[in-house]
Amino acid sequence: MKPPPRSHPLWFAFVLHRLSGLALALFLPAHFWLLSQAITAPARLDGFLAFAENPLVKIAEFGLVFLLAVHMFGGLRLMALEFLPWSDRQKTLAAAAVGVALFLSGTFFLRAI
């Protein structure tokens, strides 16, 4: 696929941060609703937990952990950029955020299967 004009590593980091934030915003209400089932309808929660053992759900959870981790470390990079003395290594730091997120989500996935 041809990259759009004006795309470069920090621009991709920006897009990844926005998209992961949006995806997490969509996920969180569903997550809290499911947790609430522990009090209101434990049987339904148990049913879902059994469904979550499905390998496909594990892959989806890997994606979720990746989004969460990449949003957190990307956010830490942005806060450091804005509040700490300037560092010229922004591209390296953005790549490191993706690397650490992949490592964490990969570890999660390997433990889950």
């Binding site: 759009p4 004009p5 004006r6 920090l10 621009w11 920006f14 950029l81 804005e82 300037w86 922004q90």
Partner: protein, 244 residues
């Protein structure tokens, strides 16, 4: 190997805001040729009604910037061979600015925002007073020096997606200029600058995409300057709270 017989396929955006259309020109390719050379060839040899802007041709004046294949560039210092895709060039006026005609963008909003950002010197001494000594290795001077080579070409402004999405945003060039003045010990209106850059459209709109630094032809880093403004405005706001 000579490429004299090859032709470049050049698409040029024509007209102003209401009537935009695109013209295609076949321009002889040369071994050594800048994008500005191509535009000049079109105007002199193919269509004298083509409007564009340039002055120095050596990367000093900042007037010839255009969108070249979707990327903002100073055309006088951009080698055609480095930017053509399959012998094709697509030229358009600078993004995020109104178009006067063809390739000439209206720079008024760009410079209006320099004024809005208080990006102008506020003198502290008159002509009868002594010079203010500036140590070249002083910390604030070193920081200011990083941004003073800006030639006002508007490339960062055209590259910035935050400007594209928010017409009030002051933009990288104006904010960087404000940052150099904030670090200039001769400038007398620090609170005025901090107030101008922290309001609506100010430095806190920046999403740190870094396109300004990526495309600045002089290798400056407005994102760094804007991060500095963010730090200083937050510090000033906290200090204000403490004093109250």
């Amino acid at each position: 190997m000579s490429t004299d017989h090859d032709m470049l396929d050049v698409t040029v955006q024509r007209g102003s805001a209401d009537h935009v259309h695109h013209d295609r020109f076949q321009v002889p390719a040369r071994d050594n040729q800048t994008v500005l050379d191509v535009v000049t060839w079109i105007q002199q040899m193919a269509d004298p009604s083509l409007s564009y802007r340039y002055a120095c041709r050596v990367g000093m004046c900042g007037s010839c910037a255009m969108m070249v294949n979707g990327v903002p560039r100073w055309t006088c210092r951009t080698h055609v061979k480095k930017v053509t895709v399959n012998g094709k060039l697509s030229l358009a006026p600078l993004r995020n600015l109104p178009v006067i005609k063809d390739l000439a963008a209206d720079m008024d909003p760009f410079f209006d925002k320099w004024v809005a950002a208080e990006a102008r010197h506020h003198p502290t001494r008159g002509r009868l007073e002594e010079f203010d000594p500036i140590k070249p290795d002083a910390r604030d001077r070193v920081e200011a020096n990083l941004g003073i080579e800006c030639i006002n070409c508007g490339i960062c402004y055209a590259a910035c997606d935050t400007v594209a999405g928010n017409p009030d945003y002051l933009g990288p060039a104006a904010l960087q200029r404000a940052w150099t003045l904030l670090n200039d010990s001769r400038d007398g209106d620090r609170p005025g600058i901090l107030s101008a850059v922290s309001g609506k459209g100010g430095c806190h709109n920046c999403h740190s995409m870094g396109s300004c630094a990526q495309y600045c032809p002089n290798g400056l880093n407005p994102m760094r300057a804007i991060a500095g403004l963010k730090r200083e405005t937050v510090k000033a706001a906290l200090r204000g709270k403490r004093d109250a």
